[in-house]
């Protein structure tokens, strides 16, 4: 660092002292930015969590390729196929295996007659492809026992709220047929909110209301040396059928919720509100801060501080407040989010893009505030110090 860099460093240290020295304004400035970062991160986190919930089934089932009716737009929607499609897909070149999956929402009836909606998931009995990701009690293989079902943690919770402490061995009814719990599992909660109840494909058809066509999805794994995309495009040649890699299906599902529901709008509104509040509170406070310091900055200019140095000082002040507020806000949002995750709702998911987005809004606010302040500083003739 040459002498120039050195003197910059020294003056910048004093710039920070200028900022911290006015404790009330500094707190208000940081408070505004913290609130803004918190609101935006928290709301975006819940939004991303919701969007993630919409694709929970895809991750719970966890197969490379999904095949469905061409009219299906997202995973939480079923347009049934004929059972024969499984065999057709299986015969496509490059397919290692193809198995049926039943998915639907039906009523479960508890012993006292009260109802609980569940997401029934029927797995191919021989392979159990799509089985629950994590068991907490019992064995997945026990699904092959008569009337066997495996239920997730949400089922346990919902049944508990109705007075049943659901354990392995307990029973309830679906479509007047008995279901016996042979295992408990943990599944990623879904947007639909209902618990997952796993059973075999055939038994799922018994539990579900009868329909002409019953098959919800065909799950596919490509042969080891064949790219999924290639198999997908071959399957798509079957008339009336669509196929997606799990990644494509996730994106398609999220896009559908994004376009056809009011979710992005309502969250977007709160995020926007956060940004506006941040701009108004912090922008204004910083402007006031610079305004009150104009005389001091002009005195520095009179004593030989260049506009560049003064700008650096003001920018440093703005960004110090910005980074502090960002850190506190994101930190608070993360703590809140961890609490949400522990409780299971509302959903919360913080991809780096949210942090980057919030960060850029904060940077924008700081730049805006600093620039408005700097306009004043540049315009201030150093001669004002004589007045």
């Amino acid at each position: 660092m040459g002498p120039l860099g050195l003197f910059r460093g020294l003056m910048l240290r004093l710039a920070l002292k200028m900022l911290y020295g006015d404790v009330a304004k500094f707190l208000m400035l940081v408070g505004g930015l913290t609130f803004c970062a918190l609101l935006m991160t928290q709301q975006s986190g819940v939004f991303c969590g919701l969007m993630r919930w919409t694709t929970a089934t895809i991750r719970n089932v966890d197969v490379p390729i999904w095949v469905c009716d061409a009219k299906v737009e997202q995973v939480n929607e079923v347009v049934p196929l004929r059972d024969i499609e499984v065999a057709r897909v299986r015969s496509v070149e490059g397919v290692e295996w193809a198995v049926p999956l039943y998915w639907g929402i039906i009523q479960a009836r508890l012993r006292d007659g009260s109802f609980q909606q569940v997401q029934i998931t029927g797995l191919d009995a021989s392979t159990l492809v799509g089985h629950p990701p994590r068991m907490t009690a019992g064995n997945v293989e026990d699904l092959r026992l008569p009337n066997a079902v495996i239920v997730d943690q949400i089922a346990v919770k919902k049944f508990k709220s109705k007075g049943y402490d659901l354990k392995v061995g307990d029973t309830f009814e679906m479509n007047d047929k008995e279901a016996r719990v042979v295992g408990l599992c943990i599944a990623e909660p879904s947007f639909m909110g209902q618990p997952y109840v796993y059973t075999t494909y055939e038994r799922a058809l018994e539990y579900a209301p009868p329909q002409r066509k019953q098959l919800s999805f065909v799950l596919v794994k490509p042969k080891p040396d064949v790219p999924a995309a290639e198999v997908v495009s071959r399957i798509r040649k079957i008339p009336g059928i669509a196929a997606y890699t799990s990644d494509e299906f996730s994106k398609r599902t999220m896009a559908w919720y994004f376009i056809y529901t009011g979710i992005p709008k309502s969250f977007g509104f709160v995020v926007l509100l956060g940004a506006v509040v941040g701009i108004v509170i912090s922008g204004q406070t910083f402007y006031l801060f610079v305004h009150e310091n104009i005389r001091n900055l002009a005195a520095l200019k009179a004593m030989g501080a260049s506009n560049t140095l003064v700008s650096e000082m003001v920018l440093l002040q703005a960004f110090t407040a910005g980074i502090t507020g960002y850190g506190l806000g994101v930190g608070a949002a993360t703590l809140l989010g961890m609490n949400f995750l522990e409780r299971g709702e509302p959903p919360f998911f913080l991809p780096w893009q949210v942090l980057a987005f919030t960060g850029s809004v904060i940077v924008f606010i700081c730049l805006l505030a600093a620039c408005i302040g700097l306009l004043k500083v540049f315009r201030a003739e150093p001669a004002v110090v004589f007045r």
Partner: protein, 240 residues
């Protein structure tokens, strides 16, 4: 006497107009003025006659419209804004009526700023600032903040700050106007003792007739021009 010292400031025909059209105020109407190294020269005159404006153009915090302003043989009107800023930083010390100390900095930090702006290391700058603060009688309060000091003490900090980088030109606008008589006198004694050097020119704008006796010469301004320059003795006689 110091009057025959080297020319420090030499202005000819300096004109400065504020505003335009009907609102235009011609504050300086062709000021011819000379000041020399080694002297303390005061500028006096009725309120609004252009003293502060003249001081501002002489020290380069404001640009004149016309005329020539030579400070230590540099024509200020020919300097770019950046060069002018650097010129002020290197050559000019300021003492303002409003002190203009930065409230959130200790007086040691305040007093070392001109050196820091000139690229001196923090240690050296603070050493020199401490030396000057001691010289103005504040050696025991280096870490105090301006608000903890009296007006007179604050002005003494400002004097220490104005001298810390050994400027060749010291500009003081009403340095005693915010102070009572005793403090005003103390500040002037201090300026006379610490600031006046053979290689430095001190220009003081003032209304305060009690301090005229500190001047070597007194320039009387009236309505935007320097009317007469008196030897200090003459001018006092004029008042008493």
């Amino acid at each position: 006497m110091s009057n025959d010292g080297r020319a420090a400031v030499r202005t000819r025909g300096v004109i400065k107009t504020f505003g335009r059209g009907d609102n235009a105020v011609q504050a300086l109407k062709g000021v011819d003025f000379d000041a020399h190294c080694g002297e303390m020269i005061m500028i006096v005159g009725p309120s609004g006659c252009g003293k502060t404006t003249f001081l501002s153009v002489v020290c380069g915090t404001m640009r004149a419209d016309e005329g020539s302003i030579e400070v230590f043989d540099t024509d200020l009107l020919k300097l770019s804004t950046g060069k002018l800023t650097a010129f002020r930083g290197a050559n000019v010390g300021f003492v303002f009526q409003q002190f203009n100390l930065i409230p959130t900095w200790s007086i040691l930090e305040n007093a070392s700023v001109p050196l820091l702006l000139n690229g001196t290391s923090r240690r050296k700058a603070e050493e020199e600032a401490a030396r000057l603060l001691t010289e103005v009688g504040l050696g025991k309060r280096l870490n105090a903040y301006p608000s903890q000091l009296s007006g007179g003490q604050q002005q003494r900090v400002a004097i220490a700050r104005s001298l810390v980088h050994q400027p060749r030109l010291l500009i003081c606008d009403e340095p005693t106007a915010s102070l009572d008589a005793a403090n005003g006198r103390k500040v002037m004694e201090l300026l006379k003792a610490s600031a006046c050097r053979a290689d430095r020119c001190v220009i003081v704008v003032t209304h305060d007739s009690r301090i005229f006796s500190f001047a070597d010469r007194i320039a009387e301004m009236e309505d935007g021009v320097v009317k007469t320059i008196h030897a200090s003795g003459d001018y006092k006689a004029h008042f008493i």
